[in-house]
């Protein structure tokens, strides 16, 4: 039990810390905020339930007023902004990524983590993100999808990276990969 709590808490802190360290720039100049990568890792490393709880804990602290989102944003205001759908989608994205990771036990870790991250961190996240934009900006589904389509290539790269990173963690700390134990 203690181990579950500390891993959930430390992964929530990891998402926050990924927002504090400087932005990475990929080889061809696409800047990425690493926080959504952190969300994917919560699922692929901690599994569905614990991964979802870690992200939920992180969002709870943001709502309570801590500036943990990239760029020092936080507070209740972010839940009234047009990007609220993505935030609501975060814990579910981690949950779904974790669930698929748990189902694909026979696949190599890296590949399974990449696929699980794409399904959770892109498919689920964008369904919620687009729904949020539809409500907040009063736009149709296609219009909202068009607004966010520019970010999809970046998220595909993140899903691939989540696969590599999870494979690295499976080698470095196999016992802590709760999605596979």
């Amino acid at each position: 039990m203690e181990r579950s709590i500390t891993l959930i808490a430390l992964f929530a802190a990891l998402i926050a810390a990924l927002g504090l360290i400087p932005k990475f720039t990929l080889a061809f100049g696409v800047p990425i905020t690493a926080q959504t990568l952190g969300v994917m890792l919560c699922g692929t490393v901690l599994g569905a339930r614990r991964g979802g709880l870690a992200v939920l804990l992180f969002l709870g602290l943001v709502a309570l007023g801590l500036p943990l989102l990239a760029g020092g944003r936080g507070g209740l205001g972010v839940f009234a902004s047009p990007s609220v759908g993505f935030l609501i989608g975060w814990p579910l994205a981690a949950f779904v990524a974790g669930w698929f990771m748990e189902q694909m036990r026979n696949m190599p870790v890296g590949l399974a983590a990449g696929v699980a991250s794409a399904l959770g961190g892109i498919v689920v996240m964008y369904i919620f993100g687009i729904a949020g934009l539809m409500v907040m900006l009063d736009k149709s589904m296609l219009q909202s999808a068009g607004l966010v389509s520019a970010f999809i290539p970046g998220d595909i790269i993140k899903a691939v990276l989540a696969g590599f990173i999870t494979a690295g963690l499976a080698k470095a700390r196999p016992a802590s990969l709760l999605s596979r134990t």
Partner: protein
């Protein structure tokens, strides 16, 4: 850790956090049920009046926090300008700014400890069902404590990378970064168990 609560002491700092959250919910529901532009102009004016009451510094901080919305404002105004429904666009923009503004106002006037007591109150039914809600509080304390610790370790990793590599810091530091988080979690779990567990 720095929170978003305003250091400028306002009268609303003393109000109950539950009341402020209830008023925020009610105000947001009103914002989303009204469609007429003059009303939304009035709502925004009221919101800005609330911000200006505690003084200039409070107002400036509040407006700066709303500034992050500018890409959405620009996008919606241009979109509706070209589709010939500028009034509809202005309603969306004004509603968005007021809704975020009011929510930020609650955050700025409510201390973390007051918010925590609301969480404790909301989780009361769970306690009655036998769920140990102290675990949530321990987890919150751990996140607050370990975010700066991990951020510091992340900076050290980035510095170590820069000292050895010619390329810019890339995604490769995330694996050791996550390993550090996992190791910390295992140590803390052991420490908690040694002190009687949760």
């Amino acid at each position: 850790m720095i929170s978003l609560t305003s250091p400028v002491e306002t009268r609303a700092h003393g109000w109950s956090a539950g009341l402020k959250l209830f008023l925020l919910c009610a105000a947001t529901m009103v914002l989303f049920s009204v469609e007429a532009l003059p009303w939304h102009l009035g709502f925004l004016a009221c919101c800005l009046t609330l911000y200006s009451m505690p003084g200039r510094q409070f107002l400036l901080t509040g407006v700066r926090r709303l500034w992050v919305l500018w890409p959405f404002v620009l996008l919606i105004v241009l979109w509706h300008f070209f589709t010939g429904n500028l009034e509809g666009g202005l309603v969306i923009v004004l509603r968005m700014i007021t809704a975020v503004g009011l929510a930020n106002l609650v955050t700025m006037t409510t201390r973390l400890s007051d918010m925590m007591s609301v969480v404790r109150w909301l989780t009361r039914p769970l306690r009655a069902l036998g769920v140990k809600t102290q675990r949530i509080e321990i987890a919150i304390a751990l996140v607050v404590r370990f975010t700066p610790v991990l951020a510091g370790k992340g900076q050290l990793l980035a510095m170590a990378w820069r000292a050895r590599a010619v390329k810019r810091v890339g995604w490769r530091i995330i694996t050791p970064f996550a390993v550090l988080a996992i190791d910390d979690a295992e140590h803390v779990a052991e420490a908690l168990r040694a002190r009687g567990g949760v």
